[in-house]
Symmetry: C2
Subunit: 391 residues, 2 copies
């Protein structure tokens, strides 16, 4: 299911935007946005076709289709050991919007929220969009380094209202250990903080690492957690714009529904995308297992290949299909290296700019490896050759 | 195509939310939300199936799929006589979101915008959501009354930045005449106002009335117009959440893209919905023509039936599949009459509450007639019987 023959480059070149195949000149390999090159599970398409054949696309319910809310609740209960209730799950137009909604619901102007650094830009962006202030907590780019909770202490003020957790952590690929999560949870209790847990990468982990949700730990931590997830990384459904927010405190849920603007129909969750996401949850587990096996073997190819390149060093990610490469030894900054790889190597990567990942990303590039062995081998050879031309 | 046999009540009872079949108890006829009871054009479903079969739902482009932007531009040029450019058309997640985006792009805190009264609540809601102030201009509930531009003069202050036009006007069914639009356009020029033209109902007009877009009049008016439209009223695609904003001033377009939050992926337009909307524009004109013919005959049945009821009076709408019924002669306010019709008559209507349509709607109820003759005849009989029980 995950060989080069399964990838339809013609379709990708026509349809895969967001820094991918449809946005680079022919001949360039885009290892940029975290969006798989493989077609989605056939069950997802079949469910879309089945629903579409009735030819009714009327308004869905404000708080989401009951079948999708139930499927999400079952998933959280059975696979994540989280006693979630369908009544407090809100389907939303992407996990990114979910993060924005939680920030709007939880933060007032001048409030503060803690984010790790490096981490994907969306936390900081959504916090600031809603008039609040993001306080950065540096975290090691080695995913196996234990996260020291004492680093958080100095960041807390009377205005601190929330801590934002991205687990597994994009871009460093860290899967938080149960004990690390327990410490973060207790810290949140101690300072009366909401925990925004972005778990969009939770399906993408590599053995022996296993994902644990902070919402599964205990009730005191869970009730202050708001969980956001989506289907773009695990199932390739970014273009269908579907995610979900799960709350465990009825007041959180109420404020989230209000902040979503679903009641006014200004926002809402696409009915067909909820059908697709339900099939992803209920019918495509076998596909996800195979996808993860493929990702595991391509991770090893990718990281070993990158570490063999002059001046590159890279830890094995525990989760996420991302390599976060330290390129400091090349003597180039990430923007210059990006340019060299793009222009000479014909490979597009994401430079570790402050605006994408925070200050802690400078001197790094990010590479997405959700592609085939053949494409990755070719990309690695091109990267190696273009780096050798510098030295 | 538009007989009782075409309506699949079983599917509607399962899927049609937003005050419709899936949200009323069995036995109640919902004439509430403006959402058709008929399945959509088969070409729309076929286009969804064709796209879905490739099994790629990757991110679409931030500013929308080129094929949809082109289809919208052709539609504006060929059917609306508006020289629109695909480069300045932004596909968005519903016309409602489009209105919100335009308000955010154009209005600052404390700015003022003029809205008609009665009109659908979304203008006022979006204006206030973005920190600005809505100033109401009363308009006659008789759609054939000529709109007197002098009524607008007293509403203008140095903070007035925008005038919001809903054409055809929900709930009164007025299709603005060319000369009325010309006067509104000149008023906007005189006071340097942006014109937000909500044209979501533009496909639903009844002969001899013909829709004219204010953006088709002349360049000076067009360049200050921002047009919003969607596919829920004309093609029954509310659940697919797809609309579009067209700008004619590059600076407007730039500010709209920024205000849409598409760049950050917090919002975006569903790829499959853009495929569906393209089929609606390019392949289902015959379906729309037949739908309008059906609506014309059911309009006459509905309005004649309503006018035969004690204490009801109702003008023939020129556009929209809505009857806006004056119920003042019944001696009941709209909330009480709503209750009587719902509990005794088992018919759900929209009461003319300030929160839905403004002050000018008190003493009115709104009825949507995008259903079959049989269902409407039954509803009219029930309404008549329950009104007779009062007298």
């Amino acid at each position: 299911m995950f060989s080069i023959g399964t990838i339809n480059l013609e379709i990708l070149q026509k349809n895969a935007y967001n820094l991918r195949w449809a946005t680079v000149p022919e001949g360039v390999i885009p290892l940029t946005a975290a969006d798989p090159d493989y077609p989605c599970a056939p069950e997802i398409t079949e469910s879309i076709i089945k629903y579409a054949k009735d030819r009714y696309f009327s308004y869905g319910p404000t708080e989401g289709q009951p079948f999708f809310k139930e499927a999400m609740a079952c998933y959280f209960n059975n696979k994540r050991n989280i006693p979630a209730s369908a009544a407090f799950i809100l389907p939303v137009d992407s996990a990114a919007f979910g993060i924005d909604v939680v920030c709007r619901a939880q933060l007032e102007k001048g409030d503060e929220a803690i984010v790790f650094d490096p981490v994907d830009f969306l936390f900081k962006y959504a916090i600031e969009k809603n008039g609040a202030i993001a306080k950065s907590c540096p975290i090691s780019t080695d995913p196996s380094d234990y996260f020291d909770i004492t680093k958080l202490q100095s960041l807390v003020s009377p205005r601190t209202k929330m801590i934002c957790l991205c687990n597994p952590l994009n871009p460093i690929g860290k899967v938080f250990k149960r004990s690390e999560l327990q410490a973060i949870g207790e810290f949140a209790i101690e300072h009366d903080l909401t925990i925004l847990s972005d778990e969009i990468w939770s399906e993408i982990t590599f053995k022996p690492f296993e994902f644990v949700s902070i919402a599964s730990l205990d009730e005191k931590i869970r009730e202050r957690t708001i969980l956001v997830t989506g289907f773009s990384k695990s199932h390739g459904l970014a273009g269908l714009r579907i995610g979900a927010i799960a709350a465990f405190d009825p007041n959180h849920y109420k404020s989230i529904v209000e902040a979503s603007f679903h009641e006014s129909t200004i926002h809402g969750s696409n009915v067909l995308s909820q059908v697709a996401a339900t099939a992803a949850l209920n019918q495509s587990e076998y596909w996800l297992t195979a996808f993860k096996e493929h990702l595991h073997s391509i991770r090893d190819l990718t990281i070993n290949g990158l570490n063999a390149i002059n001046g590159f060093s890279c830890h094995f990610p525990q989760g996420c299909y991302l390599a976060f490469v330290n390129i400091k030894e090349t003597g180039l900054d990430s923007a210059t290296l990006y340019k060299q790889l793009y222009e000479v190597g014909k490979v597009a990567v994401v430079p570790g700019l402050v605006k994408w990942f925070g200050k802690g990303a400078e001197g790094y590039i990010r590479i997405s490896f959700a592609t085939s062995h053949e494409i990755m081998a070719e990309a690695l050879e091109r990267i190696n050759n273009s780096i050798n031309q510098i030295h």
